[in-house]
């Protein structure tokens, strides 16, 4: 693979049209019978579908940051996955047990050795993983070991077209960049000069290629400044702040993630730089803690942003179960791992129903590709769940993404709906 192959330009409308066709031909009957079925998830995956997996014991590995600055994220991911496993079992589906590995905030050896341990000692058959290099380093291993892998945290274009690897979230920074820039231009029509700030990691394509191409289009002749790069783990942004100030930019587009984002936003605002900031990640609650009030000061987020208060019935089920079990509302990271784990349960059952052994190599990927549309906690309406659709060719996913205005303590308010690689803006 040399180039990203995400030139699909699937607009939201196309997806919905496709979904309508799928639903009407009965391949995805669950949506039509939202209240039918045996267990809580049956309503969304179809009565009797999950039950096909009854009695199957399935070990699912999770490769997460459980220590270090990302430990809170790893915890949320585990809890999201656990809720899906509980609900699948309650719906008569397979019994999924989670086996954890700590990659210590993205260390490659800890990731590879740990996942090997999960495969060999814990007997996992599938894996959920997060972080960039810590996930990418696993690709040869999961290809060789036939471990179906869901990349559901910090996923980048490196995960596309990889055997046994499915990306279950919008590609970090790359997917929402176009829509985010379009929103920025629409909301701030006077903004012409756009400053770009990034880390040279997964999001680099957004800064290096997408923004210079898209911004002049959407801002009717605006210009981007030379990209500014900072190292991961930076806490002092003085040099950057001074450079941005003298550059007199009208807006900032940034792919900085993790705690660094909090330090940057706070230092920019305290230095009197009040121009809008469009970012593509928000680690809660760390970034709001670090940034303080600055986080709610003209900051936006273009991302497959998760809203726990969404009325979508699939989401309500998730939020209610999660809150009951853990006493807090789920966040973005929990939601992504919930979705991926629920899909896993459905795939195992689907394979069994088709008379195949789900443990055989590539079976899960095959049955996924046969019908790549699944319910999503993102988007949707009070009566219908949102939808996510995988692309069987490059293993990416299309799911509802949006632009959000960041409020106090990092609470999000959706301001627009966007689609991967499209400048079209939909309503909130």
């Amino acid at each position: 693979m040399t180039r990203r192959t995400i030139d699909m330009h699937l607009s939201r409308r196309t997806i919905l049209k496709g979904m309508g066709a799928v639903a009407s031909t009965g391949l995805f009957p669950s949506l039509a019978f939202a209240q039918a079925g045996k267990g809580p998830l049956s309503a969304f995956f179809g009565a009797g579908n999950l039950e096909a997996g009854a009695g199957i014991k399935w070990a699912h590995g999770l490769n997460l940051a459980l220590t270090g600055t990302g430990a809170a994220i790893g915890q949320a991911m585990t809890q999201g996955a656990q809720v899906a496993a509980d609900l699948a079992l309650a719906s008569g589906g397979p019994e999924i047990t989670l086996k954890l590995n700590d990659h210590q905030g993205g260390l490659v050896p800890a990731s590879v050795t740990g996942v090997r341990r999960l495969i060999s000692q814990e007997g996992i058959k599938s894996l959920g993983t997060s972080y960039g290099p810590a996930s990418e380093a696993l690709f040869p291993l999961v290809a060789n070991s036939s471990i179906t892998t869901f990349w559901s945290g910090g996923a980048g274009p490196g995960g596309l077209n990889k055997q046994n690897v499915w990306v279950t979230m919008a590609l970090f920074a790359v997917d929402p960049a176009t829509g985010g820039l379009a929103y920025l231009a629409k909301r701030f029509p006077d903004a012409k000069k756009l400053a770009l700030v990034g880390q040279q990691e997964n999001g680099i394509g957004a800064v290096k290629e997408i923004a210079p191409k898209i911004w002049p289009q959407v801002s009717s002749g605006g210009a981007v400044l030379d990209a500014e790069y900072v190292n991961i783990g930076t806490t002092d942004f003085s040099a950057l702040v001074a450079r941005l100030k003298s550059a007199r930019a009208d807006a900032i587009f940034t792919t900085i993630y993790g705690n660094d984002q909090g330090y940057m936003i706070r230092q920019l605002r305290e230095a009197g730089v009040s121009i809008p900031i469009m970012s593509i990640d928000l680690a809660t609650p760390t970034v709001p803690d670090i940034a303080g009030d600055a986080v709610a000061d003209n900051c936006f987020l273009a991302v497959d942003g998760y809203l726990p208060e969404s009325e979508n019935p699939y989401n309500k089920l998730f939020v209610d179960t999660y809150s009951q079990k853990y006493g807090t509302k789920p966040d973005y990271f929990a939601a992504n791992f919930f979705e991926a784990t629920a899909i896993l349960a459905a795939l195992v059952a689907r394979a069994k129903k088709a008379g195949k052994n789900p443990e055989d190599p590539n079976v899960l990927s095959q049955v996924l590709a046969e019908n790549p549309t699944f319910p999503s906690v993102y988007g949707g309406s009070a009566s219908e769940p949102g939808l996510m659709k995988f692309n069987p060719d490059d293993h990416s996913v299309s799911k509802p993404i949006g632009v959000f205005e960041i409020g106090a303590k990092g609470v999000l308010k959706k301001v627009a709906t966007i689609t991967k690689d499209s400048t079209e803006l939909g309503d909130a």
């Binding site: 600055t69 002049p216 790069y229 040099a239 702040v241 003298s246």
Partner: protein, 310 residues
């Protein structure tokens, strides 16, 4: 880095970073703030290192403990920010003294090597940070409420908190310098630093002086940690990077005097920021480390030669 802007949009010119004077002044202001922070840390490490010959990397744990002390006092117990400040300094000083009395003194009595002391210190730093995570969890800890405002002069800005921190660092370094040069206690410290055996022979209690410099140095680190905590947050590994840069500053400036150490820390912090005049921030870091290597190679005694060479 490729000139992305130039390629894609002709309307953007390379000179888009306009007002150079403004940028220069702003970088100087930020550079001084950052420089004084590292000068404080360098001095805090220096007074311990030069007096006791202890490569005290567990200083990073002292720093984190000071941050958590502020959090516990002002946030958990709900006491005032000033009490949190006092707690930071006192806890830092007590921890520094404890580690000196319980560990380093034992190691010196057993005539441990430089490597032995260095590794024990790292052992404490690593175990301590892990314990902080086990006790307080991995989440960052906030101590909000410290009054802060942005001051502007034209387009150049600085926050009152940055000014306060820089001023506090300056005053602390000045106070310690005066203590060292103008008082009898300071003379005793200098005597121990230059010749511990002779100092012992003339009746100076070397072990007491060691405790004293650990208390002073740790409290200085506590001050820096407190400023960071109220400005941002506290977390278990918060001390690693600042202390590491402080250590580098000591050797950059010259380990022979507090002037050298403070200057080295200042230059390091200032350069890290000031390189922003020419370079994107990630390249600035590389530049600073390259300069540092060159200085170590060609001027191993540091920027300021010490009158009391070793």
């Amino acid at each position: 880095m490729s000139p992305v802007a130039g390629q894609s949009s002709p309307s953007s010119s390379p000179s888009s970073y306009g007002n150079v004077m403004m940028q220069l002044s702003q970088l100087i202001v930020f550079g001084i703030v950052q420089g004084l922070t590292y000068a404080l840390l360098a001095s805090s490490f220096w007074i311990i290192y030069s007096t006791t010959r202890t490569f005290h990397l567990a200083h990073s744990l002292t720093y984190a403990i000071a941050g958590y002390a502020a959090y516990l006092t002002s946030e958990q117990l709900g006491l005032s920010l000033w009490l949190g400040f006092a707690a930071s300094l006192i806890c830092a000083a007590l921890f520094g003294c404890a580690i000196e009395a319980l560990l380093y003194r034992q190691l010196r009595r057993r005539s441990s090597t430089v490597l032995g002391i260095f590794l024990s210190s790292l052992g404490i730093a690593a175990a301590g940070a892990a314990l902080l995570q086990i006790i307080f969890g991995p989440m960052v800890k906030r101590v909000p409420g410290f009054p802060n405002a942005t001051l502007s002069y034209g387009e150049i800005s600085v926050t009152t908190l940055q000014l306060t921190g820089a001023l506090a660092a300056f005053v602390a370094i000045g106070a310690v310098t005066i203590l060292l040069t103008r008082t009898s206690v300071g003379n005793a410290v200098t005597a121990v630093r230059t010749n511990p055996k002779l100092a012992m022979a003339v009746g100076i209690r070397v072990e007491r002086i060691s405790l004293l410099v650990f208390a002073i140095g740790s409290a200085m680190a506590g001050l820096a940690a407190y400023v960071e905590t109220i400005a941002f947050v506290a977390y278990p590994t918060m001390g690693l990077q600042p202390v590491m840069f402080g250590v580098i500053g000591v050797f950059l400036g010259g380990a022979g005097s507090i002037k050298g150490a403070a200057l080295g820390g200042f230059v390091l912090g200032f350069l890290l920021v000031f390189s922003g005049l020419f370079l994107s921030q990630n390249l600035g870091v590389i530049l600073v480390f390259t300069v540092l290597l060159i200085i170590i190679v060609f001027r191993p005694e540091g920027l300021i030669r010490s009158p009391v060479g070793e």
